[in-house]
């Protein structure tokens, strides 16, 4: 394996130094919580679209999806295609207009208006914990990359990554995060296109790729080039898991219910720009599997004996790029890996500031005060994430760790969000009961998963069944308890959005 040359390392260090400077420069005029958390609501739609996609790619795609494509093949493209595009279109026309009408900062804030403060608090705590836990996973992913590329111990890499991400998010808030994402996207495109082209040339084109995998793949890779896998497969990406768990639950839950994603939409100037940003993101998503999944597949054909599949993408970077360019692309790759962390850090800070601190600790806090609290929480959460990062090692990989976390509570939270938007009859009694029932279902299924599911990692089925339980219980309890008066729901549901 090639090591980074001195010139490459200099580029990486300069790059990492420039990001906190960017954060400081962007943040120097910010004074209010709206500036810090929503970029002053002046972000351009195309920037937000790119930023959403880069946040979604982050560590999960580059390390996790590319790694899973190495083991599983084309089926991983479902994550970006059926697992993103329809949900993003739905988000643009159904959910985003309602968030805009409500004029909220956070999703729990919307749910608080739609149901009551109890629902708002439960969701805020759930999401707050999830975002902080995920920060740890992102830091671990970045450390995995640095370990491969530079041979640094993981704890040093975690501290460096946390410092860079923490500083530019601390100084610049959402606007700095979005600006950083622009640079990260350009680097991602450059690195991925080079890897894809060089990799395909090395393996002998598409035909060579197919022949090589057929020759060395063995029976466990017989479906390597199939987008749709039978329900009987032991892979987590069977068609039934993809359709029910991913396309119907996890994907819409992510694109319309994930604070880190929705917060960017709320940073645009108006509802039309918010819609445009999501549609632009959906268009970009069509290209992502070509840039990430296919290189992962090529990686298997070229390096079939890699001990850890999660390391395939950085490994390919290291072995395919010339000095100089390697440093530039690697630096870009590293900050793309960080991009999920910056978004989650900013959103965790927003959520705890607006839904916990302002709601329960200091109700009269003005925007300047909240801006300062947001910064303090940003620093606190990055410290907490550093401590939590090593827990990721308990899972099979970063992809598995993040999806398992998501599957545990996204089904029930999406159930009450969806019903709250499309059905006036859903009330707070139903929402709380549905949320609790859904969570009990997901944790129970996770506990006994080995005894009832065929798939090795059935996180998509856990999401699906906990969603179903959440919907059923919310509907049943709502039908037998008093509904809120129609005038209290003005502009909060699909049928009353014109009110």
């Amino acid at each position: 394996m090639k090591n980074l040359q001195t010139f490459d390392i200099v580029i990486v260090v300069v790059y990492l130094f420039l990001f906190p400077c960017l954060g400081y420069w962007v943040g120097r005029k910010q004074k209010t919580s709206e500036d810090y958390f929503l970029g002053g609501r002046k972000l351009r739609w195309w920037m937000v679209g790119i930023s959403m996609v880069v946040t979604d790619i982050g560590a999960l795609e580059l390390v996790g999806v590319a790694g899973s494509a190495y083991g599983m093949g084309l089926a991983m493209a479902n994550f970006d295609w059926i697992g993103c595009v329809p949900a993003m279109v739905l988000a643009a026309f159904l959910f985003i207009p309602l968030y805009w009408k409500a004029g909220v900062y956070t999703i729990p804030e919307y749910l608080g208006r739609r149901y009551n403060d109890g629902v708002r608090t439960m969701i805020a705590i759930l999401w707050g914990l999830f975002l902080v836990a995920n920060l740890g996973i992102f830091l671990w992913s970045a450390a995995t990359v640095l370990e491969v590329m530079l041979g640094w111990p993981k704890w040093i890499s975690i501290l460096i990554t946390a410092s860079v991400v923490g500083l530019y998010t601390f100084f610049g808030g959402l606007e700095a995060v979005v600006m950083a994402d622009m640079i990260q996207y350009a680097n991602l495109m450059m690195g991925s296109i080079i890897i894809l082209v060089v990799g395909l040339i090395k393996v002998g084109g598409i035909d060579g790729l197919v022949e090589t995998v057929q020759a060395i793949g063995g029976p466990e890779r017989k479906d390597f080039f199939h987008l749709l896998l039978p329900a009987s497969t032991t892979h987590p990406m069977s068609w039934s898991a993809v359709f029910f768990g991913l396309a119907l639950v996890l994907s819409p839950a992510y694109w319309v219910g994930n604070q880190a994603i929705v917060q960017r939409n709320l940073g645009t100037g108006n509802a039309r720009d918010a819609k445009k940003s999501v549609l632009f993101g959906a268009a970009l998503k069509l290209t992502i599997p070509i840039l990430i999944v296919v290189p992962g597949m090529v990686g298997f054909a070229l390096y079939p004996d890699l001990p850890e599949q999660d390391k395939i993408y950085p490994y390919m970077l290291q072995n395919m790029l010339p000095p100089g360019l390697l440093g530039l692309v690697f630096a870009g790759f590293l900050v793309v890996v960080m991009s999920g962390a910056d978004a989650y850090l900013n959103s965790a800070s927003t959520l705890w500031t607006m839904d916990v601190y302002k709601k329960y600790i200091y109700k009269e806090a003005d925007q300047r005060h909240l801006y300062k609290v947001g910064r303090i929480l940003t620093a606190a959460f990055i410290g907490l994430a550093v401590l939590m990062a090593p827990l990721t090692d308990k899972f099979e990989g970063v992809f598995s760790a993040m999806q398992t976390l998501l599957s545990l509570f996204q089904g029930p939270t999406f159930a009450i969000l969806l019903l709250g938007m499309i059905w006036k009859g859903a009330n707070s009694y139903g929402a709380i009961a549905g949320l609790v029932a859904g969570l009990i279902t997901s944790f129970t299924l996770f506990w006994i998963k080995d005894g009832i599911f065929q798939a090795a990692n059935p996180f998509l089925f856990i999401a699906w069944w906990s969603f179903v339980m959440g919907v059923v219980v919310t509907v049943v309890v709502s039908l037998f308890t008093p509904s809120r008066p129609a005038n209290a729901l003005a502009a909060l549901t699909w049928s009353s959005k014109g009110s």
Binding site: P86, A231, A247, R272
Partner: protein
């Protein structure tokens, strides 16, 4: 007292205690449901699965088209009259590309 309680709890957890029977009972109840769902989906041929994916995407495109026009207000600036300023058409175009991808690779 706390020491005894802690010891009892530790031994229950270590030996499975009442936790293991509860787990087994839950598996016993839910396994038939999981098996039923598995057999139901395992019996669906992949051509029908492809059809399901394609129809879902086309239905979503149809719903988008059924919404009211998403053109900008001409009073607010230029572009209101151009057909591609209607966001619905972009959404349908994206969904159609997605459909073609599944038809080719599915």
């Amino acid at each position: 007292m706390i020491g005894i309680l802690s010891e009892v709890l530790t031994s229950i957890i270590a030996e499975g205690g009442f936790v293991a029977p509860v787990r087994e009972a839950l598996i016993g109840v839910l396994k038939p449901v999981a098996t039923w769902f598995y057999e139901l989906t395992a019996g669906v041929p992949l051509w029908a699965v492809l059809l399901l994916f394609v129809v879902t995407l086309l239905m979503l495109a149809g719903w988008v088209i059924s919404l009211k026009s998403e053109k900008p207000d001409p009073a607010q600036g230029s572009g209101g009259g151009r057909i591609f300023s209607d966001l619905r058409l972009w959404a349908v175009l994206i969904l159609l590309i997605q459909t073609v991808i599944y038809l080719v690779l599915g």
